[in-house]
Symmetry: C2
Subunit: 252 residues, 2 copies
């Protein structure tokens, strides 16, 4: 049965999508079968694999709201992608009156859990119903954090939300790790921020760091992960190292 | 009567909050009376003026959902701030059944429009009901855009949403300008992205650019705008220049 990991942080632009896709590609490179579920109406993960969300007849919206089989929205690329489209922006209102609205995703991925080793879920920058669905379906959560003040402030709220999900919907969900991203090693601000992270979260902060490099912005234009776009570069190496760390943690 | 400007882009982390606050500070420096309305449950603008959102009894949530007077949630700092709190995360569901749910903000700011020259609205990274409220209350929209592929892709969707608001809710709303932010002048990727912006949006792209500098991440820690934190630095200068450009456009 696949292990389900959600990539969550309500702060915008902290590399949730970049981390979901590139960690998945690093896992696939090591021979693991990985499904990426794009749960963001912006459909950035879908776009980053070269798929045009506007060309899709059906998407994760139909899976959640009309109980369409998730197999109908999976496209095979470097990894398998369960595609999003802008329709998802209407999912929260459409689902608000549904019974079991928080478990729709958990139910939808159950039938394919034997087909994969890992299922990764990319979430929108909010703590609304779509993200709650991801936290209810997941066993683990990876929290990308930009090492800046505004991004760090949001972590307290994320922990509160996670505690609520654990009480009401999913007793098993826990933080796999907190990932410092968009790190600019030249600034004191980033160093101080990482120190604060480690003081507050201890060993739940990954040893791996993802430094800033323009390669991450270039790769999505080509519809590729950085592992495919620049296989021997620092960007690819950073996510391979994170993959090792996450897989090693899993064995403990 | 105050001119109302919304700062909107559903892409996360593109400097919506940073632009709202620092442009407001630049306007205030020139003697204009400015109110900033924080409509984001993350309450980053509220935090960036040194106000702890968790200490607030009431916030913009109560203004929208319980029709509390907006004067009750305004705090005076470098500029006046109508504060947000995490309660706002529940506003969309609480308002989904209300009659006139899209006009709640427009009605709420009407009584204070004579007290200010400008009212700026910071929005969350989504095109949900809170952002629709901002677009319905505003005459103009400033769209901060990070010069990267994923951020640019979202502009088409934003234009579609704006057209819908114009048809159904607010015939006067139009784009004041598109602001290239987080610009790293060293990369080809940013140069190419700005060229694409100008090809598609012509003179609606501001001449002003906001370059990357760590000062922007440092200032919120002190609860200050960059104009107060580093008054003679490049960061402050960039927003003063934008203020000149926006004010000059307004006179045309
Ligand atoms: N390590 C990095 N170095 C440089 N740029 C990066 C890095 N990681 C991500 N980026 C770029 O930063 C931008 C934000 O990343 P991304 O879109 O993955 O964040 P997100 O958290 O998914 O955003 P949103 O909140 O909008 O969903 C993208 O343009 C991406 O290409
Ligand atoms: N020109 C700049 N140079 C460097 N850093 C910047 C710049 N503008 C903003 N930042 C930093 O980038 C991060 C994102 O900016 P900000 O929070 O204003 O974006 P946002 O669009 O409001 O994000 P969200 O979508 O989460 O609301 C913040 O940590 C901010 O300090
Ligand atoms: Mg994303
Ligand atoms: Mg913001």
């Amino acid at each position: 049965k696949a292990k389900v990991i959600a990539f969550t942080n309500q702060k915008g632009g902290v590399a949730k999508t970049t981390t979901t896709l590139n960690l998945a590609a690093a896992f696939a490179e090591r021979g693991h079968r990985v499904l990426c579920v794009d749960l963001d109406p912006q459909a950035n993960l879908t776009m980053s694999q070269g798929i045009d969300p506007d060309s899709l007849e059906v998407s994760m919206y139909d899976v959640l709201v009309h109980r369409l089989s998730i197999r109908e929205v999976i496209r095979k690329r470097e990894v398998d992608v369960a595609c999003a489209s802008i329709d998802l922006a209407g999912a929260e209102i459409a689902m608000s009156a549904m019974i079991g609205r928080e478990r729709a995703l958990k139910k939808a991925i159950e039938p394919v859990r034997d087909d994969y080793d890992f299922i990764f879920i990319d979430t929108p920058p909010s703590l609304g119903l779509l993200t709650i669905n991801a936290l209810t379906a997941a066993q683990k959560v990876i929290v990308p954090v930009q090492c800046e003040y505004l991004s760090m402030r949001g972590l307290i709220q994320l922990q509160n939300t996670l505690a609520m999900v654990r009480d009401e919907l999913n007793p098993d969900v826990e933080i796999e790790g907190i990932l410092p991203t968009l790190v600019d090693r030249r600034t004191v601000h980033a160093k101080e921020a990482i120190e604060i992270l480690e003081e507050n979260f201890g060993d739940r902060v990954f040893a791996s760091r993802i430094n800033k490099t323009i390669r991450f912005a270039e790769a999505p234009v080509k519809g590729m992960s950085v592992l495919k776009y620049d296989p021997n570069g620092k960007a690819a190496y950073a996510y391979r190292r994170l993959a090792e760390e996450v897989l090693a943690n899993g064995k403990r």
